[in-house]
C-alpha cells in the first residue's frame, strides 16, 4: 500500500485488523510503499459455502427451494444463513405448472387500460327496468371479482419466490380482477349512482373460497369451477347486453377470465400427474363446500331475476318467457363447461356430472 496521508498506516492497520487482513509496516527503502498487506480469509469464507438458488430459467427450478433463499433472485449465488422466508408453498409439484411462464407473458401483454378500453361516453339510455337489471348484475359481478382478487393475492404471498412465474401470474391475475372490479362498478354507476343488492347466500358462497387454505383446492374451486362458470356468464351478458358499455366490460373481463381458468386447469393437470390422490381431494373439496352451503339460499333472487330481464330485453310476458329460457340455457352451458373441465382433469364422465351438480348455485 502506497499513499501520502500521514495517518495512512495507522488507519490501514486498524482497518485490516477488523477485516482479518495482516499488515506489515514497510522498511524505509521500500520506495513509496508504506505497508504490506496479506489478504485474510473473511471475504472468501463468507462465500465458501455459498450455493446457487437453482438456475435462472424455468428449467432451473428445483423441486424444493430452501427457505433461507428468501427473496433472492432465482439463480443468484446465496450466502448461507440468514432469515427464512415465511412461505409454506414450497414444493414444485404443488405450485408449478409448465404453462405458467407463457401464461404470464400473455397476461402481461394483454393488460388493458380501463379508461381507454371501454367507450364510456357511448350512449346508454335504457328502460328503467332493464337498467336496474344491468346494475344488479354488475353489483353481483363486483362482489365476485373481489373474491377472485383476494384469493390469488393471498396465495401468492405464501408461495416461495423461487416460483417466480407463478407469483407473477397470480399478481397479474389479481391486477386483472382489480380492473374488473373497476369497470363493473363504473358501469353500474353510469346512469343512476345506486348499486344493487348483495345477499347473505352470495357472501356465504364466497366466504368458503376465501377460507380454503390448500393451494390446489383453492385454485380448483375458484378458477376451474367458479371462474369457469363465469366464462359462460360473461358470454351470456355479452350476448344479451342492451348497451355497448355493458357488452364491452363483459368481453374485456371474459378475455382475462379465460387465462385464469387456463392456469387453474394447467396447474391441476400438472399436479394430477405427480399426485394420484389429487382427484379424491378435489372431489372432497366440492362435497365439503356443498355441505357447508347446503342450507344457504343459493343465488341471490335479485340476480336471477335480473338475468331473466336482461335476456328478455323487455318487461312483457313474451320477453320474460324467452329470458327465463335463456337463463335455463345458461345454467346448462355452465354445467357442460364444468363437466368438460372436470373430465380434462381426469374425472370420468359420470363423476364429473355428479360433481358439477354439487357446485355452488351462486356460480362462484
Amino acid at each position: 500500500m502506497a499513499g501520502l496521508d500521514p495517518a495512512l498506516v495507522v488507519h490501514l492497520e486498524a482497518w485490516c485488523r477488523s477485516k482479518g487482513h495482516r499488515t506489515q509496516r514497510a522498511d524505509e527503502n521500500d520506495d513509496g510503499v508504506r505497508a504490506w498487506i496479506t489478504r485474510g480469509r473473511t471475504d472468501l469464507d463468507r462465500w465458501a459455502l455459498a450455493e446457487r438458488a437453482g438456475r435462472p430459467g424455468p428449467d432451473g427450478i428445483v423441486a424444493r427451494p430452501r427457505l433461507h433463499w428468501g427473496l433472492a433472485a432465482r439463480g443468484a449465488l446465496i450466502e448461507p444463513g440468514g432469515p427464512e422466508i415465511a412461505a409454506d408453498l414450497i414444493d414444485r409439484d404443488l405450485v408449478w405448472a409448465e404453462l405458467a411462464p407463457s401464461l404470464y407473458a400473455h397476461a402481461a401483454s394483454a393488460q388493458w387500460d380501463p379508461a381507454q378500453a371501454v367507450r364510456w361516453d357511448a350512449e346508454v339510455r335504457l328502460a328503467p327496468d332493464i337498467e336496474r337489471a344491468v346494475v344488479q348484475i354488475m353489483t353481483f359481478l363486483v362482489e365476485n371479482e373481489q373474491a377472485a382478487l383476494v384469493v390469488p393475492a393471498r396465495l401468492l404471498a405464501r408461495i416461495h419466490p423461487h416460483f417466480r412465474e407463478v407469483i407473477q401470474l397470480l399478481a397479474a391475475q389479481a391486477a386483472d380482477e382489480a380492473r374488473h372490479v373497476e369497470i363493473f362498478t363504473r358501469r353500474a354507476l353510469l346512469t343512476g349512482g345506486e348499486m344493487g343488492t348483495s345477499s347473505v347466500s352470495g357472501r356465504e358462497s364466497l366466504a368458503t373460497l376465501l377460507t380454503e387454505p390448500d393451494f390446489s383446492l383453492a385454485s380448483f374451486l375458484l378458477s376451474v369451477l367458479g371462474e369457469g362458470s363465469f366464462l359462460n356468464l360473461l358470454t351470456f351478458i355479452d350476448r344479451h347486453a342492451p348497451d355497448p358499455v355493458t357488452r364491452e366490460v363483459a368481453r374485456l373481463a371474459r378475455q382475462d377470465e379465460a387465462r385464469h381458468v387456463a392456469f387453474g386447469v394447467a396447474h391441476l393437470q400438472h399436479q394430477g400427474k405427480v399426485d394420484t390422490s389429487l382427484l379424491g381431494r378435489l372431489r372432497g373439496a366440492v362435497e365439503q363446500r356443498h355441505q357447508t352451503l347446503i342450507s344457504s339460499a343459493g343465488l341471490n333472487q335479485d340476480v336471477f331475476d335480473a338475468l331473466v330481464v336482461l335476456a328478455a330485453g323487455e318487461w312483457t310476458p313474451g320477453g320474460i318467457r324467452r329470458g327465463y329460457a335463456a337463463v335455463q340455457e345458461l345454467q346448462i352451458e355452465m354445467d357442460e363447461g364444468r363437466r368438460h373441465r372436470l373430465v380434462r382433469l381426469g374425472f370420468p364422465g359420470d363423476e364429473a356430472a355428479e360433481l358439477s351438480a354439487l357446485h355452488t348455485r351462486n356460480f362462484m
Binding site: P6, A7, V10, E13, A14, R17, S18, G20, A48, G81
Partner: protein, 283 residues
C-alpha cells in the same frame, strides 16, 4: 454441569452475541451458560472467587481478576482472544493546523482522555505520555470524559466526547484507540483532514476469555479447542463473529498486557492484591 461464563452488558447486542454462542456451544455438545454483569469489577471478583467458571474480560478486568486470584492462590488462564484483540495501538491526536510537532510540544497544554477506567483512551495513553516525559497532572493537564464508568472503555462515549472536545478547540490533544480515529473520521465526529496523529503507542492486547480453576484442565482444553474450531465460513457463526468483532479466535497470551500492568501500578488503579484503589472511580 454447564460451564458458566460472565460477560458485561455494555450494549444490548451482548445478549444476542452470548445467546448465540450459548446455542452454538450446546449444539456442539459443550454445555455452556452465561450471566451478565453491569460492570467489570463485580465480574472480576466473582471470577476470582470461583462463583463463575469463565469471564469475557476486558484487559483491565483480566489484570484485576488475576491479581485477586493470585492473592488467594488461585489460578486464572486466558484461553483465547479475538484476532482483533491483538496488537492494537492508541493514538494522540491534535488538530491539523495546530503548532504541535511532537509530544514535548504538549507541555503545559490540556489533553482529553476517555473514561477513568478506559485502557485504550486513558490508562495506556497517560502512561505513554509519562514515559515520554509528560507527567499527567504535572506537565500536562488531563480532561477526562467519564462515560460508561465500570465498562472499562467498552462504551465509546468517552472517547467520542474527547474527540469532540478536540474538534471544538477546548483541548490541545485527544487520546483514542486507532480504530476509533478511523471511525470518528468516517462518521464525521472529526472532519476529514482536520486532525493529525501526533504519536502512537506501542502495540497492546485487548480482551480475553479467562477461565478459572473451577473447571478441570480437560474441560478448559475442550472449551478452547471448540472455540478455535469456530469458523467464519459457518453461517451460524459468522453473524456472531460480525457482532462481536472478530474473524477468528486465537490462543490467549499475556505478553500484550505489560504496558497496562505498568499503567495500573503507576496510577495505583488497583493494588497488588487486586483491590480497587483508584481515586474517584465509582463503577
Amino acid at each position: 454441569m454447564a460451564l458458566l461464563m460472565g460477560a458485561v452488558a455494555y450494549d444490548p447486542k451482548v445478549v444476542t452475541i452470548w445467546g448465540g454462542f450459548r446455542s452454538w456451544f450446546n449444539e456442539h455438545g459443550f454445555p455452556f451458560d452465561f450471566v451478565l454483569y453491569s460492570n467489570y469489577e463485580r465480574q472480576a471478583e466473582d471470577l476470582a472467587n470461583g462463583r463463575i467458571d469463565a469471564a469475557w474480560n476486558s484487559p483491565l478486568a483480566w489484570i484485576r481478576s488475576r491479581r485477586l486470584a493470585e492473592a488467594n492462590r488461585r489460578r486464572l488462564t486466558p484461553v483465547v482472544m479475538r484476532d482483533t484483540d491483538r496488537d492494537l495501538t492508541s493514538v494522540i491526536v491534535v488538530r491539523a493546523g495546530s503548532p504541535y510537532k511532537d509530544l514535548a510540544d504538549l507541555k503545559g497544554e490540556t489533553v482529553a482522555v476517555g473514561a477513568i477506567d478506559s485502557p485504550q483512551a486513558t490508562l495506556l495513553p497517560c502512561s505513554f505520555l509519562a514515559a515520554k516525559g509528560l507527567q499527567p497532572g504535572v506537565d500536562v493537564a488531563v480532561r477526562r470524559f467519564d462515560v460508561g464508568v465500570g465498562l472499562h472503555g467498552d462504551h465509546i462515549g468517552g472517547e467520542r466526547d474527547a474527540a469532540r472536545a478536540l474538534a471544538a478547540g477546548t483541548v490541545a490533544a485527544a487520546c483514542m484507540i486507532d480504530s476509533n480515529h478511523l471511525l470518528f473520521g468516517r462518521e464525521g465526529t472529526l472532519a476529514a483532514g482536520s486532525t493529525r496523529v501526533l504519536a502512537q503507542t506501542p502495540p497492546f492486547d485487548h480482551c480475553n476469555m479467562t477461565l478459572g480453576d473451577t473447571v478441570s484442565t480437560e474441560v478448559m482444553n475442550g472449551f478452547r479447542d471448540l472455540l478455535l474450531t469456530m469458523s467464519y465460513a459457518d453461517p451460524q457463526v459468522r453473524p456472531l463473529f460480525d457482532l462481536e468483532g472478530l474473524t477468528s479466535w486465537q490462543a490467549g497470551r499475556t505478553s500484550g498486557y505489560r504496558a497496562l500492568e505498568t499503567a495500573v501500578d503507576e496510577t495505583s488503579f488497583y493494588s497488588e492484591e487486586g483491590a480497587v484503589a483508584a481515586v474517584g472511580y465509582q463503577p
